[in-house]
Symmetry: C2
Subunit: 338 residues, 2 copies
DNA sequence: ACTTTTCTCGAAATCGTTTTCAGTTCAGGG
DNA sequence: CCCTGAACTGAAAACGATTTCGAGAAAAGT
C-alpha cells in the first residue's frame, strides 16, 4: 500500500498523510482520521521513497579494521547503542586491514547511501586524507586524533606512561618494549612515546636493542618476545602495546621458564578479558571503548543535525589495573568486565 | 549530476544510460560514448533511486544478540567476507539480548529496507515464529536449527558429547554440568543432551543436584561453579556449556585451592582465545564460526538469486581440542587462532 | 470594519532511476 | 523480393514519497 492508496482510504490528501508523519499543519480531525487508518491498515511510508526525496538515509557507515577484536567490538556496541536510540541504522564494513576493502567502503560514500561515517582508525595514508577531505559527509575518527577532523580517542600516551611507570616504581631498571608499527598513531606512536616519557622521568636510559615491533595478535607477541628476550636476557620488565601481544609474551615466558613477575614484569594497554584470566593476570590499562563508541555516535548525530557544528577532539582518560604480572594482588571482582 | 544531465552530456537518451549500467541492447558506438562520458564526469547512478525503482536494496540485515562475544564476531566476519565479495552491504543490529531492540529490528524488515536477513539466534519465542513466518524475505537462521527455515548450525550435541566423553574416558566418575538456559536450543538444550548422551554411554548415572544453570559470562560461571561445587564437593569433572562459563569456573577453582585437572577436570564448547591462554588452558570443542557465517551468507545469496531455492539445514562438525584442563599437554602452536 | 497573522488545505512538481512499449533498422533465409 | 527475427532506440510511465505554492478560513490586532 502506498501513500496514494492510503490517502484515498483515509479520505484525505497525500499531503496530509505526509504531514501527519513529518509534522506540519494538520487539523485535529484529519489527524484522528489518519491515525485510525494507520491503526487499521498498518501503513507506513516507504523508507526508500523517503530517502530518494529527502536525500537522507538515516544510515551511518562504520568502517573498522577487525571485528573480532575486543576493543573494536566494544566500540561498535557503543555506537550501536546510540544509533539505535536515535532511529539510525548501522552499516558495517569490516576492512580486515585490507585497503581493497577500504576502497569499496569509500564507494559506498560516493553513492550517498549513508548520512555520515565513523571510521575506526589504525593506519592513515596520504590517500586517506585526500578521500576524507573531499567527502561532503560528516566524519568522526574513532581511536585516534586526526588534525582537521572530529575525533574521539584515548589518552594512549598517558596510558602507556602509567603502565611503564608502574613497573619502574617497583624498582625495575631494565625495561623492554614490544610495540606495533609507528604508522598506527594511537597504538604505535603514542604508546611508544608514553613508554619513553616514563623512562625519561625515571632517569632510565632507553637502550636501542630493547624494543621490538609486533603485529596485533598473540602469536606475533610470542615470536617478538622470543627474539627480544633472547637478544636482551637482562630485561626485568616489559611493556606491551596491546594485551594480545602481552599474552603472547606471557605464553613465551611460561614455556621458557621465565617467571612473571619475579624475573620479568609485564604490562600492557587494553585490559582485555583474556588478559584478566591469563596464566598470570596481566596488569593493563583500561580504556573506555564502549564510551568512546557512544561519544563518537553522539558527535556524529550532532553534526548531522547541525552541519556547522564545530570540529572537536575528545580524549578519554584511562584507568591502570594492577594485577599479578607486576606483583599486585588483584581483588576477585577485578576480573569481571564492567 | 543525475541521469538526465548525464545523458544530455553524453549525447544519448536516459534509457541508453540505464542500459549501459544494467546490461541491455546498446550499440558499440553509444557504449563507447557513455564510457568516455563516465570517465570524464565520474557519474554513477543514484543507489537510492535504483532502490526505489527496482525494489532491491542490496542490503542484508544481520541480527545478533551480543557483538562483543568471540563467536558472534567471527560469524559476522564470515558473513561480511561473502557479502562484500558479492557487492552486498551489511546492516547490523545488536539486540543486546533485548526484545525491544528485536522489535525495532523487525520494523526495519517491514520497511523493506533490506533484501534478506541473517538471524544469529539464541532464544526463540512463539512470537519469533509468527513474525518470521509472516516475512516475505529470505531468512537464514545462524547458530541453531529451526524447523521450516534455512539454517546453518553446529553439531552442539556432538560437541558436548565429545567434551564430556573425553573426561569420562580418563576415568572420571562424578561429572558435573554447568549449562545455560534450555530456552536456547543450541547452547542450552543440545549441549545438555550431548552431556547426557556421554553419561548414558559410559553408564554413569546423572545425579540431579550435579547440574546448574549460568548466564553467558565469566562472572556467572564463577558464581554457579561456587554453588555447584559447594553443594557437590565430590565432583571430579565439570562440563561447561561455554568457554566463558568454564573460565569463570576455573577462576573459582584457582581462588579456592581446587587443582585443575587433578581435583577437577574442566571442558567446554567454543574454543575461545581466552580459554586457550587461561590459567589452565581449557580443553574445548572448536566450532567453525567463521565458516558458518560464510555459509549462511552464501545460502542467503542463493535465495536472493532464486526465491524458490530449497529450504536447507546445514550442520557443521566440530574438533575437540584437548588441553591441560583435562591433563592433556597442548602443543605450542595450539594456542594461536586459526 | 479593516488588515494582519496564523492555520489549514490539496494540486502539482520533484527526487533519479528502470522498464515498457511501439517502432526502426538491418542481416539473412526462403 | 519478401519475411522474420534480432539488435537497437527513445519517449513516457512508473516507483512512493516530500515540499512548494497559492489560496481560503479563522483568529487576532488596530
Amino acid at each position: 500500500m502506498n501513500i496514494t492508496e492510503f490517502a484515498a482510504y483515509a479520505g484525505v490528501s497525500k499531503a496530509a498523510v505526509s504531514r501527519y508523519f513529518n509534522g506540519g499543519y494538520l487539523s485535529e480531525e484529519k489527524r484522528a482520521r489518519i491515525a485510525a487508518a494507520v491503526e487499521a491498515t498498518g501503513y507506513h511510508p516507504s523508507l526508500q521513497a523517503q530517502m530518494l526525496r529527502t536525500r537522507r538515509t538515516r544510515q551511518v557507515l562504520v568502517i573498522l579494521p577487525k571485528l573480532s577484536s575486543e576493543s573494536c567490538a566494544r566500540m561498535v556496541e557503543g555506537i550501536s547503542d546510540v544509533l539505535d536510540k536515535n532511529n539510525y541504522h548501522l552499516l558495517l564494513v569490516n576492512t580486515a586491514n585490507d585497503s581493497a576493502r577500504e576502497v569499496a567502503a569509500l564507494n559506498l560514500l560516493q553513492q550517498n547511501t549513508v548520512d555520515g561515517v565513523i571510521l575506526i582508525a589504525t593506519i592513515f595514508t596520504p590517500e586517506h586524507r585526500t578521500v576524507l577531505g573531499s567527502l561532503r559527509l560528516p566524519v568522526i575518527i574513532l581511536g585516534q586524533e586526526y588534525p582537521g577532523f572530529c575525533s574521539v580517542s584515548h589518552d594512549d600516551r598517558g596510558a602507556a606512561h602509567a603502565a611503564t611507570a608502574h613497573m619502574l616504581s617497583k624498582g625495575r631498571k631494565a625495561p623492554g618494549f614490544l610495540g606495533v608499527t609507528m604508522l598506527d598513531k594511537a597504538a604505535g606512536l603514542d604508546r611508544r612515546r608514553g613508554f619513553e616519557d616514563a623512562l625519561r622521568e625515571a632517569g632510565v636510559p632507553l637502550r636501542p636493542g630493547r624494543t621490538s615491533i609486533a603485529a596485533f595478535n598473540m602469536e606475533s607477541g610470542y615470536e617478538q618476545a622470543s627474539t627480544l628476550l633472547k637478544r636482551e636476557p637482562s630485561l626485568d620488565c616489559l611493556f606491551c602495546a596491546t594485551d594480545s601481544i602481552a599474552i603472547g609474551a606471557l605464553q613465551y615466558c611460561r614455556s621458557h621458564g621465565i617467571r612473571v613477575p619475579e624475573d620479568l614484569m609485564i604490562t600492557a594497554v587494553g585490559d582485555s578479558e583474556a588478559g584478566r584470566v591469563a596464566y598470570v593476570p596481566i596488569t593493563s590499562v583500561q580504556l573506555h571503548y564502549r564510551t568512546a563508541g557512544r561519544l563518537a555516535a553522539e558527535m556524529l548525530l550532532e553534526h548531522l543535525a547541525d552541519p556547522h557544528a564545530k570540529v572537536e577532539s575528545r580524549v578519554l582518560d584511562y584507568v591502570l589495573r594492577p594485577r599479578a604480572s607486576t606483583g599486585d594482588a588483584s581483588p576477585e571482582e577485578d576480573i569481571w568486565a564492567e
